[in-house]
């Protein structure tokens, strides 16, 4: 009988986590390059680990929008920018860059964008143009080449800190078919309809869990009453 409560508790907590996941996706619908989080939790597994471990990124591309800002970049095709965060190399499609205080090219959050042969990209402040293979030109002179990489095993990619992706157990290789577009941004790939349906489903499942607990409570009440009388 006790396992009934465990199952009900698991259903309730999983519903909460599913709604939290939908909430994270929905709140980032306007974040450029955001890849939505997909949960692969099994429906009834009381000992499923924390929800975060069951999230994988959906790497399908978002639509490209034109912004006209020379520091905005979108990748057309499969590929990621490489950035360093806390000593590790992580990856992102969010191409909103800026010149940092010391002149290096960094993301809007301050992570340094990496060049193809490693290292940061220092900019002196001339006319900034990037060709579609990643070559960075300042005042017409080629200064560096942006690292455009792809995951060897896309299924092993996981979420890391700062909204960046890590290759996880897999590795990265130079992206073969990626084209860089300056002045454009990739929109998020969040589908509002999917998230809303998932939220509704999770809330209904939670109501089901509530009913389970109600049934358990009822039965236990009757058991106690029956045995208490004798």
């Amino acid at each position: 009988m006790g396992s009934l409560v465990d199952i009900a508790a698991a259903v309730l907590s999983q519903s909460e986590r599913r709604v939290e996941l939908a909430g994270q996706n929905i709140s980032n619908v306007a974040t450029p390059g955001y890849k939505r989080r997909v949960s692969f939790e099994s429906f009834l597994s009381p000992d499923a680990g924390p929800a975060a471990a069951n999230q994988v990124p959906d790497l399908s591309p978002g639509k490209l929008t034109n912004t006209g800002n020379p520091y905005d970049f979108a990748i057309a095709g499969d590929g990621f920018f490489a950035v360093t965060a806390a000593g590790r190399t992580l990856y992102t499609r969010q191409g909103q860059f800026q010149r940092g205080a010391d002149g290096r090219l960094e993301t809007a959050q301050g992570f340094a964008v990496q060049a193809e042969d490693g290292g940061d990209i220092p900019l002196k402040g001339g006319v900034f143009k990037v060709l579609d293979d990643g070559t960075v030109e300042e005042d017409g002179q080629a200064v560096a080449k942006l690292a455009l990489v792809d995951f060897t095993d896309p299924k092993a990619a996981t979420f890391a800190e700062g909204g960046l992706l890590s290759a996880g157990a897999g590795d990265v290789q130079p992206a073969k078919a990626a084209l860089l577009r300056q002045g454009m941004l990739e929109a998020s790939n969040v589908s509002m309809g999917d998230e809303m349906v998932a939220m509704m489903e999770a809330v209904r499942r939670a109501e089901g869990g509530q009913k389970l607990v109600g049934v358990y409570d009822d039965l236990m009440g009757r058991v106690l009453q029956a045995f208490g009388q004798s």
Binding site: I26, A53, A108, V213, G214
Partner: protein
């Protein structure tokens, strides 16, 4: 407690501030020289507890989801459309750069041009009363001030048929316009004096001066309207998330009847 609540709340707050940015752009669509701002979003995730350990992200717990954050909005300094007014005291810059003004406190502020005036002391100043940094004194008796494309300021003195040069207006450029802070009244200030380089209009990529014209705002109404619709929908979707979180909490509360 309930994660969905807080994640939804960050979404609501971020979308609302983005709506403020769009509303400000649309409100200033007719402000001469106005440069539009753009809201920038980034996903909020808690940092790893052991950032120096390369294995930390692979085996340990993944960072917790915290919603979305709005980074400081960036200004778009692209050129606004020039409209010819024919008034000799109107000055616009066609191309990149700013005109330096001397603010009352002694510091230098940057100006994209607008209407000029001659102060009672006889100096050429902006309409807000701040004189131009490249001090141009207009002697009494001068009339018909002409400003050439290259910045040369000349005036006609009574009795003389030809104009005489009374000064030169320089155009300054900033290496990274994103580092400028916006002040009240369409003025900007550079964080560091060293970032500002002066040159004559037309040299080193600086813009040309155009007398008798005013630069409009660079707000594109269609773009702002599209973003407005998107932000509105995103805002109501985030409200749904908060409501769903609320429903779950009420379900949990009603477990014990």
């Amino acid at each position: 407690m309930n994660g969905a609540f807080y994640v939804g709340a960050t979404g609501l707050s971020a979308q609302q501030r983005a709506l403020d940015v769009i509303a400000n752009n649309i409100a200033n669509i007719n402000t001469p020289g106005y440069k539009r701002s753009q809201a920038r979003f980034s996903e909020l995730v808690s940092p790893l507890s052991r950032p120096d350990d390369p294995q930390a992200g692979l085996d340990g717990p993944a960072p917790a989801m915290l919603g979305v954050a709005l980074d400081a909005s960036s200004r778009d300094f692209s050129q606004g459309a020039l409209s010819v007014t024919g008034r000799p005291m109107d000055l616009a810059i066609s191309g990149p750069g700013f005109i330096e003004l001397a603010a009352p406190g002694g510091q230098t502020v940057l100006w994209r041009g607008g209407t000029l005036q001659v102060t009672p002391d006889g100096f050429l100043a902006a309409a807000n009363g701040m004189p131009l940094k490249s001090t141009i004194s207009v002697p009494t008796g001068a009339s018909g001030i002409t400003i050439g494309q290259d910045g040369k300021v000349s005036a006609v003195f009574d009795g003389s048929a030809n104009a005489r040069q009374i000064g030169q207006i320089d155009v300054v450029q900033v290496k990274d316009p994103g580092g400028l802070s916006a002040l009240d009244g369409g003025l900007y200030q550079a964080a560091n004096e060293r970032d500002v380089t002066a040159s004559a209009p037309g040299e080193d990529g600086a813009g040309l001066l155009k007398q008798g014209a005013i630069e409009g705002s660079n707000v594109q109404l269609t773009d702002e309207m599209v973003m407005l619709l998107l932000m509105q929908r995103a805002y109501s979707a985030n409200a749904e998330v908060v409501q769903a979180g609320d429903q779950l909490m009420s379900i949990a509360n009603e477990l014990r009847r």
